[in-house]
Symmetry: C2
Subunit: 458 residues, 2 copies
């Protein structure tokens, strides 16, 4: 709930922060970008893309400086090798990021869409129209090219954004932002201050306090990082801390298909949030399925942990404990549990799942329908890999993030996650008293979506 | 964010609470109501309506008992006369509540709607379908007939609901709930436990801790009550603490229309959240508008407070202080401020408004458009009374509440505020590996909304 729009009532720490001036500037810019024509926003995106390519040398040099320092940290054991790999930019990655900007350019403008046009009565017209949210705070770990994607999404949706990347990529982020700003300055209609880089952790801490001035926080990074953000702000957060996904192999599964789906869901990219962590196997199919699955998974290097009943079938499984059912390995490790029924599978998922993506493998249409109806998760899949849970694969265009909250937007969120709406009502001096007893003029409530292109009835 | 579905990780206070068994029962019921056919839900609503009329005598007697005790409290100064009035039920109010149940019965079912059907590739079909949220917690002050409306909305949307009314209406709520349960028992397909009455404040406190088990909290009552709820739970809250609305009389306003809209927006029902608290008047029109408005408002008994410039024009206004710009009087009191421009009016609203409903009176189309574009509120109105901000007047059918948060749903929220959605994906063993480099089969992303009535492509 963002009810406080009033700076004097801010927490003192935030009010004292130099960040406040930056946020105020971002808010002022957002008021202007909110009503920019699509053509101007697209011109800004093209200018960004062009400038990023023109500044390639400076960007890669800055990245090289970050990498040299990071290499020292890896040697000292302060940074992981995978974080080092994610930090690395090269001409190809930059070209991919620029291609991403142009892809966002081609998406439909989510702002200014009429979701409803209704004539309440003669001359009294209600419209529900999409608007930008206002000011976004995006906090991401490593991967400097994420900055480019976020900037593009913000420009397209007419939002201002305050960006904070991981400290190990500071030079890269500064060089990317300098290029983007140089591009945007080519478009005089595009206001300054709508994209800003934050550089310190203290700023992030202050940002999380600015309820009412910052409209949405998007954290991108590890579970513990996202959880920290969620627990330390009252600003709405878009994202997910956990991706604890299950694949349930029903007694009526096609065994070969089940093995293939298990492999894809676990090993195609094990660090992804939509990879599975626990495999649930119906007891009736386990003797046929489990030996094949274990062999295939081990060929891919997956460490397997099983409950006592699975270990009766495959004795050399590592014993799984209660903690395994709660763990997102994000690695080549899989826990396996035997269940006696669809109900038991659904109950296990209700208890341990993170409401991200859950899948059933079965040839039994009724069992599949029950699973899809009764499992509460952003994605419920039948005979398909959990790895399909992704905005690009879903065809949403750009993906802002994946939300595991219960309220919409949930699941992979496209540009529409960065807009809200307002009800606009235009009258000719209409009074509620006239629609109230005793005279009580009736409402007409005529749908006028057919006049989508008007800004009011004439 | 509702990530925790797992009771062992609940706060100990909540886990110890007897409430937990009730919530678990409600969740189990919600799994069944989620997939009930519309006809069953409508039969349950009709059975509720019939039973409420059949139990009229017992309900009114219970209300009489509440009223007798409340009369003592009014005498002792422990209860306000208006709270006493809201508590009172009679045959007419009960008939109105029953009519409301039948109105909800006639609304379209918001559950099971296909928001998207897309064939990602041959045999791989994605659907985004609406589902109930799960378990709602609704906490309301006084007005026992609110229980009937909330129960009807819950049944129609397939949600379970835990209801807690004001303590002064306990007998009335128990009698209403007994009648509703008697009605629902006529429909054997409708699960028990989906509607439950809470009777103590301790239960409300425990309820607010049940993040992950309760999906949405809806508070209905005073600003301080709603604010308390919002500040004491991490469960999403639908509602608004403040309704600090403004009417801005532009220099190009029609003076007579401006007087009529001022009167309607302030006096038609001053206790409503969509009544105005502050009137902003452009300096150029003030000499013509203000004397007329002051006279008309005073005839309606409105106490007027003005800033120094307004008091130069109308010397006997009570001086307005900074505190007045922040106060939701919810009473026949109005603060008036003079501004020199549309920009100053917009800045005042940005600073003091609660993002509920804001209106401009003007004959200048460009000024109106700027106001509608630049004022950030759930409702932005041109030449219409702020009192139109209401789900029934908007034609949304039943109104769950009015939300002033920035993210959707905002403004008056109909049944669709009580549903979420899931992505369902049905395949034939589809693997993400096949859509990944080097082989990289392309996605088709064909819109299949034309096949809305199928549950998958054949």
């Amino acid at each position: 709930m963002s009810l406080v729009t009033d700076s004097p009532s801010l927490p003192e720490a935030a009010a004292d922060s130099p960040l406040l001036a930056q946020v105020q500037l971002a808010r002022a810019a957002a008021r202007r970008t909110a009503t920019l024509p699509t053509a101007i926003k697209n011109a800004a995106l093209e200018a960004m893309a062009t400038a990023l390519l023109e500044h390639q040398e400076a960007i890669l040099a800055a990245n090289q400086a970050d990498l040299e320092q990071a290499a020292e940290q890896v040697k000292a054991g302060e940074l992981s090798a995978s974080a080092y790999a994610r930090l690395k930019l090269d001409a190809q990655k930059l070209a991919d990021a620029v291609a991403g900007v142009r892809q966002v350019l081609r998406l439909p403008d989510p702002v200014g869409q009429a979701l409803l046009i209704r004539e309440l009565d003669e001359g009294l017209v209600l419209e529900r129209r999409t608007y930008p949210l206002g000011v976004l705070g995006v906090i991401f770990e490593s991967r400097p090219d994420a900055l480019v994607q976020i900037a593009a999404l913000a420009v397209k949706t007419g939002n201002s954004v305050l960006l904070k990347g991981g400290s190990e990529g500071l030079c890269s982020c500064q060089a990317l932002m300098a290029a983007i700003q140089a591009g945007l300055q080519q478009i005089p209609e595009f206001p300054q201050g709508s994209l800003q880089l934050l550089t310190s952790r203290a700023e992030v801490k202050a940002l999380l306090q600015l309820e009412g001035l910052v409209d949405l926080i998007i954290p991108r990074g590890s579970s513990s990082f996202v959880r920290y953000i969620m627990e330390n702000t009252r600003i709405p957060v878009l994202g997910h801390a956990d991706g604890l996904c299950h694949l349930y192999v029903d007694r009526a599964a096609d065994v070969d298909m089940a093995v293939r789906l298990t492999l894809d869901s676990k090993t195609q990219y094990p660090a992804a949030c939509n990879a599975i962590e626990t495999l649930l196997v119906h007891a009736e199919i386990a003797p046929r399925f489990l030996p094949l699955a274990v062999q295939a998974l081990r060929e891919k290097g997956v460490e397997l942990r099983g409950d006592p009943r699975c270990r009766q079938l495959v004795p050399d499984l590592i014993p799984a404990s209660e903690a395994d059912w709660r763990t997102e390995y994000a690695d080549l490790i899989l826990a396996i549990k035997m269940v006696d029924s669809l109900d038991e599978a659904i109950a296990h998922i209700e208890r341990y799942g993170s409401r991200h993506t859950e899948a059933i493998v079965t040839e039994d249409a009724a069992a599949a329908q029950r699973f899809l109806d009764e499992v509460d998760a952003a994605g419920v899949f039948h005979n398909a890999s959990t790895r399909f849970a992704d905005g690009f694969r879903y065809g949403l265009g750009a993906e802002v993030g994946i939300s595991t909250q219960k309220l919409p937007p949930r699941g992979p969120v496209g540009l529409e996650g960065l807009v809200t709406y307002r009800y606009q009502l235009r009258g000719r001096g209409h009074l509620v008293a006239d629609y109230t007893a005793p005279q009580a003029r009736p409402f007409q409530h005529r749908d006028r979506r057919d006049r989508l292109n008007t800004t009011g009835l004439s």
